[in-house]
């Protein structure tokens, strides 16, 4: 499940995106049609509205599946995972006079 969720998420996001593009283009077409016919209509046609809302719903589901696992909000839980090796390394000050240079064979 966890490995197929990103691909399923990607498919749903693409689908939602296409539907959104299609509904926005339909709106544009509809408005230009109204200009030609010189009718004034307040609402969009029903099918375009439904298509927009459906695309938003599909997009939401896709994004939730696609997003990487969320991190905890409490700093406490994040800090509990820290180890001394991670916070006390001081990488700018490292020296090379240790046994690693003597014990490993030169390549």
């Amino acid at each position: 499940m966890s490995s197929s969720s990103p691909t399923l998420g990607r498919i749903l996001c693409t689908l939602g995106f296409l539907l959104l593009i299609h509904s926005s283009y339909s709106t544009y077409e509809h408005l230009s049609y109204l200009k030609v016919v010189e009718k004034v209509e307040k609402d969009l046609p029903l099918d375009v509205t439904i298509e927009t809302l459906v695309s938003v719903a599909i997009f939401s589901i896709g994004i939730v599946l696609l997003a990487s696992p969320l991190k905890e909000i409490l700093m406490k839980t994040e800090m509990a995972k820290q180890t001394i090796e991670k916070i006390d390394t001081r990488p700018s000050f490292i020296t090379f006079d240790h046994r690693g240079r003597i014990l490993t064979p030169e390549e």
Binding site: D88, T95, R101, E106
Partner: protein, 302 residues
């Protein structure tokens, strides 16, 4: 490796870059596979940080050919960059030519006085040469300007600890805690320095702070247990000496003149720490029962 998961490898390398951990063997094995098997072009702009990371790890393990490959790629891409010159200096340091490296860093600093990396590498070179006093002096001078550099304060504290100057090391850790008060591991280090330099009462407060910031942190619980035990022993020792003198014995609810804590609090903390430690060990199912029995006995004796 039969199955080389490129995505996992590059994610691991990225994590190690973020935390700054020094896992050179892992970095060299992953980096070597990525570079020699030609996966490097999949990384995009990240590849230069990866070359830098693999270069430093290769210096740690004396993989000179891998180090030279990485350095050449960086030199061709960024000719004359001070950051690449720092890496060249690190290579000289790794080969043992510390004086030439220090000359190189001095040149970089002459061109640009504010280059922090060059200052830090000069301090590291004095450290490698064994010139402790010089390293401490230059690091203190650096910290006068850049006083919010946690890494540098930690390094100064480590230098003082090597020379057993616990007062000064303690001061550096206090600065670190000012900068990052939420990190329980800095409080732990501070508490252990205090315990080593015999400030038991203050050490007890800091160990309690560690356990407050990170629930059931075993090292903090052990610290509480050791501190309360020592304070209680001091308490009973002073009580027995007072009984031989003409003074009446102090009641157990009075504040202890030595530690400033009342004895009941110390007993309660001791019992709480014991209980939490035993609880932590009872959760693990892998450890054998004889080990648990041994720990229980040791905790009673402690």
């Amino acid at each position: 490796m039969s199955q080389f998961n490129f995505a996992k490898a590059s994610a691991t390398l990225q994590d190690l870059r973020k935390t700054g951990e020094r896992k050179s063997a892992l970095v060299v094995s992953l980096g070597e596979t990525i570079i020699t098997k030609g996966h490097a072009n999949k990384l995009g702009d990240e590849v230069w940080s990866m070359y830098e990371q693999v270069f430093i790890a290769a210096l740690d393990l004396r993989s000179n050919s891998l180090a030279k490959t990485c350095l050449e790629k960086l030199e061709t891409r960024f000719p004359g960059s001070p950051r690449v010159k720092i890496l060249q200096g690190m290579e000289l340091e790794a080969e043992g030519k510390l004086d030439i490296a220090i000359e190189l860093y001095k040149n970089i600093l002459e061109e640009d006085e504010t280059n922090v990396a060059a200052t830090k590498r000069m301090i590291a070179s004095s450290k490698a040469k064994g010139q402790w006093q010089e390293a401490i002096d230059s690091l203190s001078k650096y910290l006068d300007t850049y006083y919010n550099d946690t890494e540098a304060w930690l390094e100064l504290s480590a230098l003082y600890l090597q020379q057993h100057l616990y007062q000064q090391a303690r001061f550096c850790l206090e600065e670190v805690i000012l900068l990052q008060p939420q990190n329980h591991l800095y409080h732990l280090k501070y508490a252990e320095i205090l315990y080593t330099s015999d400030n038991i009462a203050l050490a007890l407060r800091e160990f309690c702070r560690v356990v407050e910031l990170c629930d059931d942190y075993l090292r903090g619980l052990y610290g509480i247990k050791l501190c309360t035990q020592r304070l209680l022993n001091l308490e009973t020792a002073s009580n027995s000496s007072q009984q031989t003198s003409a003074k009446p014995p102090t009641s157990t609810s009075a504040v202890s003149p030595i530690s400033g804590y009342d004895v009941k609090t110390l007993y309660d903390l001791n019992a709480l720490a014991t209980e939490r430690i035993l609880h932590a060990y009872s959760r693990q199912r892998e450890s054998g029962d004889d080990l648990k029995v041994f720990i229980k006995e040791w905790l009673q004796v402690l």
